[in-house]
């Protein structure tokens, strides 16, 4: 990195002797945007001068600039797909995805509503065909059967078969 010139030695020694005694002008570290602007040469003269003044006394910011001076700032290095996927997953659905999601949800809700409607219509049709009188007779018969089973302690299979035959239209 350095071309070692003998002529530099005198200056270097002088610098080494006084460096620790040089007063520093403390200033707050510059933002990444200002440092980036300095590196890209996009700052105004005034801003550039301010950053330069800070760099003269701040080793950390100097180091940051030295680091990125050697970096490939247009790197297209291989990045593991898992990293890409995880980063993409940080932001939710796109408009297209959201549209698809809404359509899917509407479809599912529609199907559920249709199922309920079919069940309801089926129930109504069944009720009309198998009227209230039949239902009352069936309930009375089942009640009698239950009473009989409870009283005897054992099921009367003939009684049950008759009951089911009667219930069948």
């Amino acid at each position: 990195m350095n071309s070692h010139e003998p002529a530099n030695d005198d200056g270097r020694q002088l610098w080494r002797r006084i460096d620790g005694a040089l007063p520093r002008e403390p200033s707050a570290c510059v933002s990444p945007l200002e440092l980036a602007g300095f590196a890209d040469d996009r700052l105004s003269d005034q801003d550039r001068q301010a950053v330069e003044g800070h760099l003269a006394d701040c080793g950390a910011c100097r180091e940051a600039l030295l680091d990125i001076a050697g970096a490939d700032r247009e790197a297209r290095a291989f990045v593991p797909p898992s990293v890409i996927d995880a980063a993409k997953g940080l932001v939710g659905r796109s408009r297209d995805d959201a549209g698809r999601w809404i359509l899917g949800t509407i479809g599912a809700l529609g199907a559920a509503a249709a199922s309920i409607a079919i069940c309801f219509v089926g129930y109504r049709v069944g009720s009309a065909w198998y009227g209230p009188d039949e239902i009352l007779a069936e309930e009375a018969l089942l009640s009698e059967m239950s009473f009989g089973l409870l009283a005897s302690g054992e099921p009367d299979l003939d009684l049950l078969a008759d009951a089911f035959e009667e219930m069948t239209p």
Partner: protein
């Protein structure tokens, strides 16, 4: 390929995916470089976690960091490189890997280099900021003149003349005897370690 940053900030998924595809390589390279230069080795899982951390920070608090980027002031690649580097160093600092000294330290031995010359008096504005910067780049950072010129963004002749003027000022200052100590006529003689001076 240009990425619509405003759309990213609004939370548009397609724009964000394009941003990730475009800039993940730059961020990955910057993190890798920061880890290598400070640790000497690279833990791939650590690098990947840090890259993810960079993306998280860009989006955090309603994309506060991403909103702070101004395309008129710096290129996105340089800005993202600095942000990624900063996140990587922050992570290394928090982790604080245990270190072991390579050689046992003998407290009887004076430090070999760069004792602060606290007994020398150097006025605040003896050197301008640019003069100090140039001397630091050339002598501390071991830069050549062309490298220092590229770093500051000036021509090589400016670096040479700035350096020359700075050294001339320093020599004149010390030759005139304007120091607080020393008994050597004001010349900046060899700096003694504090222990030696107490004896």
């Amino acid at each position: 390929m240009d990425v619509d940053l405003d759309a990213c900030i609004r939370g548009d998924k397609q724009s964000w995916d394009a941003f990730v595809d475009r800039w993940a390589g730059v961020i990955h390279a910057a993190v890798l470089r920061a880890f290598k230069s400070r640790r000497g080795f690279v833990d791939q899982a650590d690098v990947e976690d840090t890259v993810q951390d960079v993306f998280v920070r860009l989006l955090k608090d309603g994309c506060r960091l991403l909103k702070s980027y101004d395309p008129n002031r710096a290129s996105l690649s340089t800005w993202l490189t600095l942000v990624a580097r900063s996140v990587a160093i922050d992570r290394l600092r928090k982790r604080r890997d245990p270190t072991v000294p390579l050689e046992p330290h003998d407290p009887a031995q004076p430090a070999p280099d760069r004792q602060p010359a606290s007994y020398l008096s150097v006025p605040m504005h003896l050197l301008s900021a640019r003069q100090r910067l140039v001397l630091r780049l050339v002598f501390d950072e071991q830069m050549s003149v062309p490298e220092a010129a590229r770093f500051i963004g000036v021509d090589e002749q400016t670096i040479r003349s700035t350096k020359h003027k700075a050294l001339t000022r320093l020599r004149q200052h010390f030759a005139s005897g304007r120091t607080t100590d020393s008994g050597d006529g004001g010349r900046p003689g060899p700096v003694q370690p504090p222990r030696a001076r107490q004896q």
